[in-house]
């Protein structure tokens, strides 16, 4: 037997030895056990894995999380001016007091912890998705930390959108304990013709493992905007699994400012004709910042469009990683795929590691990709200064201009303005 795999499996056994599956109803238990079996077969990720070549998984896989100090700021809360349904988790635990009632026109919404405790028939129907997209996303590339999540998640949100949601669902992840280790799992089903926006923000915990499964039926639309918390020492591994039906739309944007370890995976399957998937990210990092965007988009239907736009601003030795793949299956004719990953390196110590991949089996497709790394454009900087704009302002203007293509992926102008002000705050603190 393969020695590397053996090591990964024994690492998994060692880790799992101290963990117990959360108590759940029988049907839920079987989903957890299936995930556990997947995890046992794969083992935990190791530094020898091709998929973990640029990001060391140790701090995400070890038994105890490293402690993370809590970031304090006087800035207004993100999305504070936006009319939304608030759901608050503190170090992974649901905070009923701080949360709104789980009721809104156009959607059914429940806590995972509530729904998984009952064996009643309706919850099962709604919930049969749990772990399904995660399991599908394990091939052709293994994602053991997502299987671990399905097996051990303690809570999360389950949403079924049946119409146009009255307002965004806003998941707020607060971090109060310096040693918390949180595992949350959300399941979202957007029915035919329904529309839903989900916002996420906050650091969540010292270590956070989050999975979100999004199943979009024909003609459904799902929007996602996320800002990952600024507690610099926090660590996060997140997986977004999405499956898109005919003419459905999936759009996701992530802002990451700070964080010594962030691994965001997006695994998207376009299974119905003429579906559209956009996934974008803006990351700004300083010092021992490490940020990894790993994206896998599968075109398995005709006439679909996918777009990946990832921009990173790195300074003082920060590291950015991008692994992005477009897989076009033989029947996915008329595919329109676009991928761009770029870094702005503000000094010579920072690094950007990019692995763009295209794998195309259909013959009538348009796929383009590009990846660049560069410094601030001195000519542009001088032009701005020659018009009276002070150097620091001019530099910030150019940094925001660099990030603009990613921010433009956000549909709502109001939300985009909020994200922009976060970036301005980050830049202002580095003057």
């Amino acid at each position: 037997m393969n020695v590397v795999l053996q090591k990964k499996q024994s690492a998994a056994e060692a880790r799992l030895g101290a963990m117990a599956l959360p108590q759940s109803a029988a049907w839920m238990m079987s989903a957890r056990e299936d995930a556990l079996a997947r995890l046992r077969a794969m083992g935990l990720p190791s530094g020898r894995d091709e998929y973990w070549k640029y990001t060391r998984p140790d701090s995400l896989t070890k038994a105890e999380p490293d402690p993370a100090a809590i970031f304090h700021s006087d800035e207004p809360r993100l999305f504070g001016q936006i009319d939304r349904l608030k759901i608050v988790f503190v170090d992974g635990a649901f905070d009923a007091e701080a949360s709104d009632d789980l009721e809104m026109a156009g959607i059914e919404i429940h806590r995972l912890a509530d729904i998984s405790a009952t064996d009643i028939h309706w919850s099962r129907d709604l919930f049969e998705l749990y772990g399904t997209l995660e399991a599908r996303g394990q091939s052709p590339v293994e994602r053991p930390l997502a299987a671990l999540n399905t097996a051990y998640a303690t809570d999360g949100i389950v949403i079924r959108a049946t119409g146009k949601a009255a307002k965004p669902v806003s998941l707020i992840y607060l971090h109060n304990s310096e040693t918390s280790d949180a595992i949350l799992h959300h399941v979202i089903r957007v029915e035919s013709g329904a529309e839903l926006t989900v916002l996420e923000n906050g650091p969540a915990a010292a270590r956070f493992n989050k999975v979100m499964e999004v199943d979009i039926a024909d003609g459904g639309a799902f929007n996602h905007v996320r800002a990952q918390g600024r507690d610099h020492e926090r660590r996060a591994v997140t997986h977004t699994f999405a499956r898109l039906g005919e003419e459905s739309v999936f759009k996701s944007f992530t802002l990451t400012a700070n964080g010594v370890m962030t691994r965001n995976e997006a695994v998207i399957e376009l299974t119905g004709d003429n579906a559209v998937a956009h996934v974008a990210g803006a990351a700004v990092g300083d010092g021992d910042f490490h940020h990894d965007d790993t994206v896998f988009i599968t075109h398995d239907a005709a006439g679909c469009e996918s777009r990946q736009v990832f921009k990173k601003v790195l300074r003082n030795g920060a590291t950015g990683v991008f692994q992005g793949k477009i897989l076009v299956k033989p029947d996915a004719q008329k595919t329109d795929g676009y991928q761009i990953s770029q870094s702005l390196l503000l000094d010579e110590d920072s690094q950007f590691l990019a692995k763009p991949e295209l794998e195309i089996y259909a013959d009538d497709v348009a796929c383009s990709h590009g990846s660049t790394s560069g410094a601030i454009d001195e000519t542009a900087l001088f032009y701005l200064r020659s018009r009276g704009i002070p150097t620091a302002d001019a530099q910030d203007l150019l940094v925001l201009a660099f990030l603009a293509e990613a921010i433009e992926e956000i549909e709502s102008e109001e939300i985009a303005a909020d994200i922009l002000s976060r970036l301005q705050g980050w830049l202002a603190r580095r003057r």
């Binding site: 454009d377 001195e378 000519t379 542009a380 001088f382 032009y383 701005l384 200064r385 020659s386 018009r387 009276g388 704009i389 002070p390 150097t391 302002d393 001019a394 203007l397 150019l398 925001l400 201009a401 660099f402 990030l403 603009a404 293509e405």
Partner: protein
């Protein structure tokens, strides 16, 4: 307004002298033109005045209304009232033209201790200025100079000048790459700004721009020096006979 005395400049990277003792004095309200063959140092003079990197002043001085501009950062020179219209305006993807202009104007106002201009007042100002230069709303919304034609870029330079209202305007080969109609439009924009309190230094290869922007004084520059100074007739002489005669005469 602008006084340049015995200005010597070399390239920072190599030991190559470009300006070898330039003397120039512009009174407020006057238009001076500098003409000269390729490589005479005309553009270098404009870069050094605006504070671009890569040049080292080895001797001499340059002052704007008595203040030494060579000691200032580029943004300080702008706030003091100096403006360079670039020969090759820079494209800045991601920065909207309006945002750029408003940031520039308010930065200068702030540096001069004035209040920032409100968004509404700025919009009014820019609409009025843009109209005379035939700059449409789309050009104002687009990123700075991105996808602009050569003529649009030059008009955009003049628009910036009109909005920022500098005291001392240096135009570096603003006519290059322009057809006759575009040149007329640019010249009209410049002429509209002529004022008793504002001076212009127009750098050009050709006389034809000077048909539209009538100079008070014309200088001929060669090998890093002003070799001849005269009235507008000097530009016509260059147009008719080229530089060779003048250069031979002063040699």
């Amino acid at each position: 307004m602008l006084e340049i005395k015995n200005l010597h400049v070399k390239l920072e990277e190599e030991d190559k002298a470009i300006l070898k003792g330039v003397d120039l004095a512009l009174q407020a309200g006057t238009v001076h033109a500098i003409m000269g063959p390729n490589g005479s140092g005309k553009s270098t003079l404009s870069y050094v005045l605006s504070g671009r990197d890569g040049y080292e002043v080895t001797e001499g001085s340059a002052s704007l209304e008595g203040a030494d501009i060579l000691e200032m950062e580029p943004e300080e020179r702008a706030a003091a009232g100096l403006f360079l219209a670039f020969q090759y305006p820079v494209e800045i993807p991601g920065v909207g033209n309006m945002t750029f202009l408003r940031t520039a104007l308010n930065s200068q106002r702030k540096a001069r201790g004035q209040d920032e201009m409100s968004a509404a007042d700025f919009l009014k100002l820019i609409r009025e200025k843009a109209k005379t230069l035939k700059i449409d709303a789309d050009m104002l919304k687009r990123p700075v100079n991105v996808g602009f034609s050569g003529g649009e870029k030059k008009r955009n330079e003049i628009l910036q000048m009109a909005v920022l209202e500098p005291k001392m305007c240096v135009l570096d080969e603003t006519d290059s790459g322009l057809d006759v109609d575009a040149m007329k439009l640019v010249a009209e924009g410049v002429n509209a700004l002529r004022d008793a309190g504002r001076s212009f230094l127009v750098i050009t290869h050709y006389q034809r721009l000077l048909d539209h922007i009538k100079p008070d004084v014309v200088h001929i520059m060669a090998d890093g020096r002003i070799v001849k100074t005269g009235g507008p007739e000097l530009a016509l002489e260059v147009e008719a006979n080229g530089y060779a005669d003048i250069l031979a005469e002063v040699a």
